[in-house]
């Protein structure tokens, strides 16, 4: 991956000036590159990774991974059906998979009923959807490379040769 993208993927708060110092490229070159990445859709969004389990404002909040099997129709590939599914805002991520089912869909909701209703009223009845298998997430340990549990401070001496 390009170095600008690599440092941004680890820390989206870096300013062009800081990225310039880290990569050795001029601040203007960094700014131009970022602008282009944004325009081309390479950089999609700048987000914060939040451990929602530590926020107790909504204790019933649930996430589910749903395996979706699809009958592909003539002239209507997977992309068409996937689009009908991922356009729902309840769907947080959606992947086409190899193996025993076709789409893996991640859904979030206020509580278990919201998610169940979404599956029963929107997802399952959709034409071409042959079947679904829903797995509710019990606990997130690691997300997108980040271990969510706060690690212990390392016991490194503050000064050494």
């Amino acid at each position: 991956m390009n170095e600008i993208l690599e440092v941004l993927s680890k820390n989206a708060r870096l300013t062009p000036d800081e990225i310039s110092k880290l990569t050795g490229q001029s601040a203007n070159a960094v700014k131009a590159a970022i602008k282009k990445y944004e325009k081309d859709g390479v950089i999609v969004q700048y987000k914060t990774v939040i451990n929602k389990e530590l926020i107790d404002e909504n204790p019933n909040f649930v996430r589910a991974l749903i395996e979706v099997s699809i009958t592909p129709q003539k002239d209507v590939g997977f992309d068409y059906i996937a689009e009908r599914i991922y356009s729902f805002p309840e769907v947080k991520s959606c992947y086409l998979m190899s193996g025993s089912y076709d789409l893996l869909v991640e859904v979030e909701g206020e509580n278990i009923q919201t998610v169940s209703n979404f599956i029963a009223s929107k997802l399952s009845p959709m034409s071409h959807v042959r079947g679904t298998a829903t797995h509710f997430l019990l606990k997130k340990y690691k997300e997108d490379g980040h271990i969510l549990k706060k690690g212990k401070q390392r016991q490194r001496l503050n000064i050494s040769y």
Partner: protein
């Protein structure tokens, strides 16, 4: 009760007080640490834990586990084309520190001289003193990026020298040498029949060119003790594991001392080290990338705020001059610590010739480096004339 004179005479002196001050102060941002800020990669730690579960808790052979010695030699061959025999030419040590001590004690007769670049890692002159030898310090200069010149080595040789101790990339300066520069030093080593103790523990952290082991240079293998370890490349400082490769006779000598004073390195560390060489190199690549970025950042910020420094070629240290602000690096570091709670190491800790410099370690998170440099900047501003 008196202690032996040569121990009495050993440094450190003033620097110890500064270290104690840092260690007793809370909420310090430290750029004074001589070890990686990464924790040992999980696959290596996991292997160590598993080996304990499996009951690997015994002594190993004095020279270290043969599996480890073999995999080290394979690695050195694959990476650098070096040919070392795992049976006769390889010894597993408790860190490079032990390897250096063994090497010096093995080669020196009382009064024999050893050339050492100044500044150097703190143990260099000390182990020579303890072995009854005489350290000859060769001052290096910021204009030369703290590299030894061929002329000064030759000058040292003319007064009689048994060995040269060289560390590249260097702690504390980050200096390293290209193959071409090393070849010139090798010529002198040949001419004056020097033994070269080459401490290459930072070899994986060489940024601007490929690292060249001293013993890989034509004709050098017979006069070089190659020292390396796992601390820096694999963030395994606490495992205390290193190795020495060299001519069979020298390694046999070192093994004799090692067997009486250390017996063997810890088996847990040796098991972990096998895993490091088998599958730890992806982590090394990632760590190196991160260090490279921090190096650029720190050097550019230091020059921006008025602490002159060169771009070091390796390790994770920058060695800026503080002469614009102070003549005394301990005073400077103490004042900075008291006023801004930023710790760094006074240059004089590494040798008299580098009074007027400080060592800044960038083995610290980007956030820490950023904040520490802001604090140094605000400390220096009122002092800028």
């Amino acid at each position: 009760m008196d202690i032996a004179e040569k121990v009495e005479k050993l440094k450190p002196s003033g620097i110890r007080l500064f270290f104690d001050l840092v260690l007793n102060m809370k909420d310090v941002i430290s750029l004074g640490v001589g070890e990686p800020d990464f924790v040992t990669p999980w696959r290596i730690r996991e292997k160590a834990i598993f080996s304990l579960e499996q009951g690997y808790t015994s002594y190993t052979s004095n020279k270290g586990m043969i599996e480890l010695r073999k995999i080290i030699c394979q690695h050195l061959h694959k990476r650098y084309g070096l040919q070392y025999d795992p049976e006769e030419e390889t010894l597993i040590t408790v860190g490079v520190s032990e390897g250096l001590d063994l090497a010096v004690r093995t080669i020196l007769n009382p009064g024999e001289r050893v050339l050492i670049h100044d500044p150097s890692y703190v143990s260099y002159p000390a182990v020579v003193d303890l072995a009854g030898g005489e350290p000859v310090l060769l001052p290096t200069r910021i204009e030369d990026h703290f590299k030894l010149s061929v002329e000064q080595i030759e000058k040292g040789c003319k007064k009689g020298a048994r060995a040269l101790m060289i560390n590249y990339p260097c702690n504390p300066t980050g200096a390293s040498y290209t193959k071409k520069e090393l070849k010139q030093i090798a010529r002198i080593a040949d001419k004056y029949d020097l033994i070269v103790l080459s401490d290459e523990v930072y070899d994986e952290l060489t940024y601007d060119f490929d690292h060249t082991p001293f013993s890989s240079l034509p004709g050098m293998k017979k006069r070089v003790i190659y020292l390396n370890g796992f601390s820096k490349a694999f963030a395994m400082t606490g495992f205390r594991l290193g190795y020495a490769c060299g001519p069979a006779k020298l390694i046999a000598g070192m093994t004799k001392i090692h067997q009486y004073t250390m017996l063997c390195a810890s088996i847990t560390s040796q098991m972990a080290a096998i895993e490091a060489l088998r599958g730890g190199f992806n982590d090394v690549v990632e760590m190196k990338k991160e260090y490279m970025r921090r190096r650029r950042f720190v050097v550019s910020r230091l020059n921006e705020i008025g602490l002159d420094c060169h771009m070091p070629e390796g390790a994770f240290y920058v060695f800026p001059s503080i002469k614009k602000f102070s003549r005394n690096s301990i005073e400077f570091a103490t004042d900075l610590l008291n006023k801004k709670k930023v710790a760094l190491v006074p240059g004089v800790a590494f040798g008299e010739s580098t009074e007027g410099y400080v060592r800044i370690s960038y083995a610290s998170s980007y956030e820490n480096l950023k904040e520490a440099l802001l604090r140094i900047e605000s400390y220096l501003k009122p002092n800028l004339h």
